[in-house]
């Protein structure tokens, strides 16, 4: 992350300086302004979903919801506490249903619970991250809406290929994480 940030920023600013040095600062400000806009938008989304999640937690509903992905969490995160497994399960459910606003706060919380105090990500954290970023969404709602706006005759005909693709990427991700963590363990 660190190296990538430095390389991209240095090369980009250098390239901008060659063409139009006056615009360099305004481009960077455009970036932070975008971050402010997104953060405001996300504050609204998180306020709604974290409110609903709290209601689910207090009513005991999250206990039932977390059962949905219990087999998955038991399989991959069995050495984490029950509470952490429940949060992971809730995160996966939210991701599955396309509730990104609910999934992100749960994901961050799960990462906090899984850390072992060192600067290195644990095997479980990597597994959780990879499952999350290989997308396990059931319905790509945004894309379907965009296609129908763009005049598609059958905007939802991408659901099946997307579902297959997303299942395959998640499986590839899981296998690779298992492979890499396995290699390290046998080396010990």
């Amino acid at each position: 992350m660190n190296i990538l940030f430095v390389i991209i920023c240095v090369v980009s600013i250098g390239m901008i300086c060659l063409i139009n040095p006056e615009s360099a600062i305004s481009v960077m400000l455009e970036g932070t302004r975008g971050a402010v806009d997104l953060s405001l938008k996300m504050t609204a989304i998180y306020a709604l979903w974290m409110g609903i999640l709290k209601i689910m937690e207090k009513s005991g509903l999250s206990y039932y919801v977390s059962k949905i992905f219990r087999p998955v969490t038991k399989l991959f995160f069995k050495n984490e506490s029950k509470e952490t497994q429940d949060i992971i399960s809730m995160n996966l459910t939210a991701n599955f249903l396309g509730m990104g606003g609910a999934a992100t706060p749960l994901g961050i919380l799960a990462m906090e619970k899984m850390q072992d105090g060192t600067e290195r990500a644990t095997d479980n954290m990597i597994m959780f991250f990879v499952i999350n970023v290989t997308s396990i969404q059931l319905l790509p709602a945004t894309i379907i809406a965009m296609r129908s706006t763009a005049g598609s005759h059958n905007p939802s005909d991408i659901i099946l290929p997307a579902l297959i693709a997303t299942t395959v990427t998640t499986l590839i991700g899981i296998i690779l994480v298992k492979l890499f963590t396995g290699v390290r363990k046998t080396r010990k």
């Binding site: 600013i13 409110g51 990597i126 590839i172």
Partner: protein, 168 residues
């Protein structure tokens, strides 16, 4: 049909909580309060990512990288029209949505290219953004092989998406 899913789920949550005698309104407020704290702690990371991505795009570096990887992505079965999407997708959600919009306009929403782009978008995530946000409140600095694996799976997903769109 799918538009009903979330609203109906929320109605069920509210009724269930009310029957269970939960202080529904206070619980909502308690949860919502944490949203501000959460944004406060992840904003710096969003800012960093956004500065980097904006520079990457505006400077022309993104276009240069796209040009560089096009021959390679072409040989693994990704049409050249989609290379830019593959490059931008892991970094910026809004950036890739803009590219998709552009693809729909240029090639038509039902074209092969547009369908591939849709499937790629629907089966992938903004890897760098999620990495920055998910680890932001932990002590973790070394992500080890997390990002390479995620990127590899993502590219494999793009190849599979383009293949699937030929048949489905």
């Amino acid at each position: 049909m799918s538009a009903y899913i979330l609203p109906v789920l929320i109605i069920m949550v509210l009724i269930f909580a009310f029957i269970r005698r939960v202080a529904v309104f206070d619980s909502f407020a308690e949860g919502a309060k944490e949203a501000l704290k959460l944004i406060g702690s992840i904003f710096p990371y969003i800012a960093g990512i956004f500065v980097c991505v904006t520079l990457f795009r505006v400077s022309g570096l993104a276009a240069a990288v796209t040009k560089l990887v096009t021959p390679f992505s072409n040989t693994i079965g990704i049409p050249p029209e989609l290379t830019e999407l593959i490059v931008i997708r892991p970094m910026s959600g809004s950036g890739s949505l803009a590219l998709i919009e552009n693809i729909y306009e240029t090639y038509g929403a039902d074209s092969y290219i547009a369908r591939c782009a849709s499937v790629i978008m629907g089966s992938s995530e903004t890897i760098f953004y999620v990495a920055a946000i998910y680890f932001s409140t932990t002590n973790v600095k070394k992500l080890r092989f997390a990002i390479p694996i995620a990127l590899f799976a993502s590219v494999a997903g793009a190849i599979i998406s383009c293949l699937l769109c030929r048949f489905l």
